[in-house]
Symmetry: C2
Subunit: 244 residues, 2 copies
């Protein structure tokens, strides 16, 4: 399992992903699921992935080697796509092709080769945008009314995002809320685990203002987790007993 | 969708269920999903249901009319089963039979006739016990390490149960935590809604100490929901901004 969240507020974009993968509960590994393309160029494209590792890696390889665009007859790569939207369409085709190739190899076993992606960032001077790419290759864009998108083990961490995030939420607060969402998810599902990869970029910039890995030795995350736990316990105590 | 939770602590048993059913988002109705059998007799059997309404109603009818027990060759009913465990086995057979009958009628349409139950209570002088009956008719019992069971839309409301419930939690606190769990679920899934049916019974008693319906006009629940929301917002504010 995996948990990834992307948050797009007025001030900028945050993307986070855990690093635990498992093929059965007795086969747990660590893989980077948050990738950055175009650093130091005219673009910044951030991709988080959930689902079949074979399919997401296949899609990334296809994007690095270039994937045919049937509408323009061009070969699309991260470095050449003219907009973040075209990047989303291209990686959607790559994801679909990788899944179909895996399913073609697979004869009879009941393996699920689906994968989904979050794709955020900016190409050229356009504002940062955020998309969710479905296993079939189609995509939706994050809007201002619900300024986040999730993939993977989304439910445990969703209530805090619904309560706390608005488009006007500050970028710092968005990081904080995202980390609380990860904390809740990791408490309820063992298949989501530290470390968490995190990238934060301000609107109007192509250089991440934070790009780091948060491990079990991260003091801020440990403190956040403990404070949140204590605050919830305290909040429960403060509510009077039911009259029934 | 539906959300039901049963909590079994040292002091007693709480069972709660929402009342919203839907066959598609444009066909929403209200049905009682928490049923009580044996009130005023030597037994108290409380059943909460999630899943196909046709299957759960079919199972309840079978239990009222009596269902054959292949091991004893008796006809089992709520009034005659010798223990809560035998009640669980009997209703498991009834649930399986009702599902299989529905699937037999259904020719070709893709309808899911699965349903699950929570069954709690006591027959005779035995301590209250709590079980989850799966769609196939098999069951698991609630233990002291995780003193709750859920069916239906379980994930949104699970984190607070994991954090707050211990076997030593008081019965009042268990009701409070259960209501917070419902509040979180209803905020994230429209298909779970008020009113909530709630039954509370002390260990050693066959008479519920509370048996009521909590609607949108319930002052305690409104206050709990508001306090919880404010406390979460306050807890977030109290956590310092991230250093990254």
């Amino acid at each position: 399992m995996t948990y990834c969240v992307g948050i797009l507020v007025r001030e900028g974009l945050v993307m986070m992903a855990d690093t635990r993968t498992n093929a059965g509960i007795d086969n747990v590994s660590r893989y980077r699921k948050l990738r950055v393309f175009g650093l130091g160029t005219d673009r910044l494209i951030i991709v988080a992935s959930a689902g079949s590792l074979s399919t997401t890696q296949g899609a990334m390889h296809r994007m690095l080697e270039g994937i045919h665009n049937p509408e323009t007859d061009n070969i699309d790569k991260w470095e050449t796509v003219p907009s973040i939207y075209q990047a989303v369409l291209a990686v959607g085709r790559a994801l679909r092709a990788a899944r179909d190739a895996n399913e073609g190899l697979e004869q009879g076993d009941e393996v699920n080769f689906n994968a989904s992606l979050l794709v955020g960032g900016s190409v050229g001077g356009e504002p940062h945008r955020l998309f969710l790419v479905y296993p079939a290759g189609n995509a939706i864009e994050c809007g201002q009314d619900t300024p986040y998108l999730q993939i993977g083990e989304a439910k445990y961490g969703k209530p805090i995002l619904d309560r706390a995030l608005r488009f006007d939420t500050t970028l710092d607060e968005a990081v904080k809320v995202g980390l609380i969402s990860f904390d809740s998810t990791m408490r309820s599902n063992l298949a989501v685990g530290l470390p968490i990869d995190l990238i934060k970029v301000k609107q109007g910039s192509l250089v991440p203002s934070a790009n780091l890995r948060i491990g079990s030795d991260d003091e801020y995350f440990r403190d956040l987790s403990e404070r949140w736990s204590n605050a919830l316990a305290h909040a429960r105590e403060e509510i009077p007993n039911p009259p029934y």
